[in-house]
């Protein structure tokens, strides 16, 4: 399995969480909310593009809306491979962290 970058992972999770309402603006907000950081659009576009290329995300164009100045939205949804990848990451994460005693991190948390 190809490993995802942190950004890709965050964006993928955001899309998954947003379910039917996942497009650039909401994804950016979601990622910002999850990480408590401000994210620029540029930092969202690239992972989105890569995820789409890796077939982890699906994209459809919605109809143009006036509040976007007549531009179309690109709506994203997670594919089954995407979900698998997320599960894989979670498992990997846990297996890597497994065996580390919480008391070892006490001073840091």
């Amino acid at each position: 399995m190809k490993l995802l970058s942190r950004q890709e992972e965050l964006v993928l999770i955001a899309v998954w969480r947003l379910q039917d309402n996942a497009y650039s603006v909401t994804i950016r907000e979601k990622v910002a909310e999850l990480t408590a950081h401000d994210w620029s659009f540029g930092a969202i576009y690239d992972p989105l593009e890569r995820l789409e290329k890796k077939k982890l995300l699906n994209a459809v164009f919605s109809d143009p809306s006036p509040e976007r100045g007549g531009k179309r939205k690109k709506m994203y949804s997670i594919t089954s491979e995407g979900l698998k990848a997320l599960v894989g990451i979670k498992n990997l994460q846990e297996s890597v962290w497994n065996g580390i005693n919480k008391s070892m991190l006490k001073n840091l948390i």
Binding site: Y45, G69, K73
Partner: protein, 868 residues
């Protein structure tokens, strides 16, 4: 779009920038995202912070966009540079021809443009320059022709300032004759003595180094001097308050030192004094009747020039009835136009004819064009060897735009490379160039103007040279290139032929122009001017030598090298007065005016002007009311035997005692006009003492000895004055300085044009004969003789050169006749000049191509046909 939407639309300008940065390609566009967030911000945080955010995004996008662009263009640039170097190395011979041509062309352009820039920069350094005008007098002479002079009456300055509200300030300035200055042992003749009103220093910008403007002219013996004079006469001392001896006569106190007058000033001076002394000794020179001053006025901003001119003229008419009757008009001439206006009588400094500036600008442009043509010809001719490269490039996905870019970058690199060499060469060559133009121009490479001009020249050259080849080479269809071995560009050489014809036409034209200019100059040099111009030296009358002229003359005549000596107030050819004359047999009607020259004993004998009949003024005969005239005057009077007949000059009855031959004392631009001569014995007067001349006819075989003899006599009589002499020959040469410069420049640029054209032709034939080597080989195996092949290869060239000659002849004929018409006496360009140039151009063409043609024709066909 409804109102609600408009309320939340981002700033128009910002969204336009965004639209430029993210062109709509039918896919997802970030503009929509920005727009949506903007709308959200508007609703939550207010319009102002939304706008700030939007602009912030625009800024970031721009930064990113530029980064991206430069990154990729840097990469492409690096690649293109690599291709350029590879191509350069692969075709060193052709690249060198290209570069050499461009270098020569660009050097010429740099030199000519620096010179023109200097000529056009005259008087542009004055702070008030835009509002300063010189007053000119316009009047009709006796023949009804309009004459414009810079001379105005002295009181005009005060009247103009006091009576015309638009005139903010006014001053006079005049240049004085050459006199010696002295500080103890340091004594020299100085040219830059001048007189001005104190306001002169306020109007014009000649900054002081020391001393103050306020007491610069505190009394009539106060003067200010240039830095140069200060160094010369006072070396390291502070000159302020020191005394300087003027003309061995008066002591002046130095009140100030100003920075040396820039070279591009029509007013040139080293010492400035006030008019007071002159006014006391010669009040008549300061009346409304005497037109002898240069007046400058400074007007208020946006003044109506016509109105001021009318007011000035009115003042003149009110104060001098004669000027009203004769309809004198005062005109204003902008300060910066003085140097580039010709035709003004008694002009202060040398001016430049705009015609010459235009001629040389065109020559520079044409020479650069010739070099560009070489580039175009060689690049398109070589298209065959590069067509494969282009084909592969296109197949690999290069768009036409990119190929054009590649070739333009290549030509720009070539131009830049050439430019760097040319700039260095120009700096090296500028002293040589100064010798021709008679200027002291230097090139400052790091000057902003120079750099800007360089950039323009570089880009125009690069693009002019590379544009057509780039278009042509990029238009090739990759399929046909890669399938066949023929390049489309190699066959369509019609343009190349036209360009070669053009190059030859220009070169031939320049050759003919040069020949005609030289013929005219030679004509001037060889012309029998009617006096001994080579034998006469003259010295300025100073101090005792006027009063003791007879003693001096006797002393001088004792020397065997000296033939004769005479004295005259002005140089020969200079006239001040025109007088009405009357004679028996004159047809009634308009009055006739003639120049009246004041001369002394033995004038004609000294100058070597032959006397046709009668005699000249000699000591043995009475001299009162006697007139000598030149041939032209005698012809005009139409008397059978003029000697002994009466003539009325300004109403005085005089007798004609002699007729002398015509002499070209003025330049050949002017026709010989009737001249009268009367005797004037004013050699002891003050005026003579300041600007009279003694003429000495010497033995040319022992010129140095004659000068020695004159010097000895001079010091016996004038021990305090440095001795100095000049020759009429120099004076004569000076009259044709402009023409000599023209000839020198023509000479160089013709050679350059020929060199560039031949270089191009050489490269072109080298290439085409190489391309045709197989064809020649086949012709030879089929039995063609070498001579046949040579004629076959040369046939085209003869045709081209023939056409070039036919095209350029009428053009040159027209231009050169216009130029020659400026001379009253000139050569008539003969058809032989044109034919000769035609033959020469053929010879040049043949010589240029002969090496390659012979090489191709003599080559063993086995060698060219062996490999297939």
């Amino acid at each position: 779009m409804n109102d609600r939407d408009r309320k939340y639309s981002p700033p128009l300008f910002a969204s336009q920038i965004m639209r430029y940065l993210f062109p709509d390609n039918g896919e997802h566009s970030p503009i929509g995202d920005f727009r949506e967030v903007y709308t959200g911000l508007c609703k939550n945080k207010g319009k102002i912070s939304a706008r700030i955010w939007y602009w912030g995004q625009v800024f970031l996008c721009i930064v990113h966009f530029i980064k991206n662009k430069t990154y990729w263009s840097r990469i492409m640039f690096g690649k293109n540079f690599k291709f350029f170097i590879r191509n350069f190395n692969r075709n060193r011979f052709y690249s060198l021809i290209n570069i050499t041509g461009l270098v020569i062309g660009i050097v010429s352009v740099i030199l000519i443009f620096t010179w023109i820039d200097h000529e056009l920069s005259y008087d542009n350094f004055h702070v008030n320059g835009e509002n300063i005008y010189r007053v000119l007098t316009e009047l009709e002479d006796e023949n009804g022709e309009t004459v414009t002079t810079k001379n105005t009456p002295a009181p005009l300055k005060d009247a103009a300032r006091d009576e015309i509200p638009e005139v903010v300030n006014a001053c006079r300035w005049s240049s004085d004759t050459r006199v010696p200055l002295k500080n103890e042992d340091i004594k020299f003749y100085e040219d830059g003595i001048s007189t001005a009103d104190p306001d002169f220093l306020l109007m014009f910008t000649f900054p002081f180094i020391s001393g103050s403007l306020d007491d610069a002219f505190i009394d009539k013996r106060s003067v200010v001097i240039s830095e140069r004079l200060a160094k010369k006469y006072f070396v390291d001392e502070d000159p302020i308050g020191k005394l300087l001896n003027w003309n061995n006569w008066q002591m002046y106190t130095i009140r100030g030192v100003f920075k040396d007058v820039p070279r591009n000033s029509h007013i040139d001076f080293d010492l400035l004094r006030t008019f007071q002394i002159e006014k006391e000794s010669w009040p008549a020179g300061f009346t409304w009747g005497n037109f002898n001053r240069n007046t400058y006025v400074q007007l208020a901003d946006n003044s109506d020039l016509r109105a001021v001119e009318a007011k000035l003229t009115k003042i003149l008419h009110n104060n001098n009835y004669y000027t009203k009757r004769k309809n004198f008009r005062l005109k204003l001439q902008p300060l910066t136009e003085i140097h580039i206006t010709t035709g003004i009588h008694n002009e202060i400094a040398e001016v430049i004819d705009m015609l010459y500036i235009r001629i040389f600008m065109s020559i520079a442009a044409v020479i650069l064009l010739l070099a560009c043509i070489n580039y175009i010809n060689l690049s398109t001719a070589r298209s065959i060897s590069r067509s494969k490269e282009i084909g592969i490039r296109k197949v690999s996905g290069a768009r036409r735009k990119e190929i054009i870019k590649q070739f333009l970058i290549e030509s720009l690199f070539t131009a830049m490379f050439a430019y760097i060499i040319a700039a260095v060469l120009a700096v090296i060559l500028i002293p040589e160039f100064n010798l021709i133009t008679g200027k002291k121009i230097s090139i400052d490479i790091f000057n902003f103007k120079f750099l800007a001009a360089s950039a323009i020249i570089l880009f125009t050259t690069g693009i002019a040279a590379g544009f057509y080849p780039a278009l042509l080479l990029s238009s090739f269809n990759p399929l046909s290139i890669l399938k066949s071995s023929r390049a489309p560009g190699s066959s369509g050489s019609a343009l190349r032929k036209i360009l070669v014809v053009f190059q030859f036409a220009v070169s031939i034209g320049l050759i003919i122009c040069t020949i005609i200019v030289y013929q005219q100059l030679n004509y001037i040099r060889k012309m029998n001017v009617g006096f001994d111009k080579d034998k006469i030296i003259y010295i300025q009358v100073k101090d005792n030598i006027g009063k003791s002229f007879d003693i001096a003359r006797n002393e001088l005549m004792k020397h065997p090298q000296i033939r004769d000596v005479s004295i005259k107030f002005l140089l020969p050819g200079e006239t001040v007065s025109r007088n009405p004359i009357h004679w028996q047999g004159r047809e009634p009607g308009n009055s006739v005016y003639m120049n009246l020259n004041s001369i002394n004993y033995d004038y004609f004998k000294t100058l070597g002007i032959d006397i046709i009949s009668g005699r000249e003024f000699t000591r043995e005969h009475p001299i009162d009311n006697q007139i000598i005239m030149n041939e032209e005057a005698a012809k005009f009077l139409n008397l059978d035997d003029p000697v002994g007949k009466p003539i009325w000059v300004s109403g005085n009855k005089c007798t004609i005692i002699g007729v002398v031959k015509n002499a070209h004392l003025k330049s050949l631009h002017y026709k010989i006009v009737p001249e009268l001569f009367h005797f004037s014995d004013d050699r002891t007067s003050n005026a003579m003492n300041l600007s009279g001349y003694i003429f000495i006819n010497t033995d040319v075989t022992d010129f140095a000895g004659s000068v020695k003899a004159v010097e000895k006599v001079w010091y016996e009589i004038n021990p305090d004055y440095p001795f100095e002499y000049r020759t009429l020959k120099d004076e004569y040469e000076k009259m044709y300085r402009g023409e000599n410069k023209l000839a020198g420049l023509f000479n160089y640029f013709t050679v350059i044009a020929i060199a560039i054209s031949c270089l191009g032709l050489y490269g072109l034939t080298a290439y085409t004969t190489e391309q045709r080597s197989k064809e020649i080989g086949i012709r030879k195996t089929l039995g063609a003789k070498t001579s046949r092949i040579i004629t076959y290869l040369m046939k085209d060239l003869i045709k081209w050169i023939f056409i070039a000659n036919l095209i350029i002849w009428p053009v040159v004929w027209k231009i050169m006749n216009n130029w020659l018409d400026e001379f009253a006496y000139h050569v008539v360009p003969g058809i032989d000049t044109f034919l000769l140039t035609g033959i020469v151009s053929l010879l040049i063409g043949f010589t240029t191509v002969s090496y390659n043609t012979l090489k191709a024709a003599l080559k063993d066909p086995v060698e060219t046909l062996r490999y297939e």
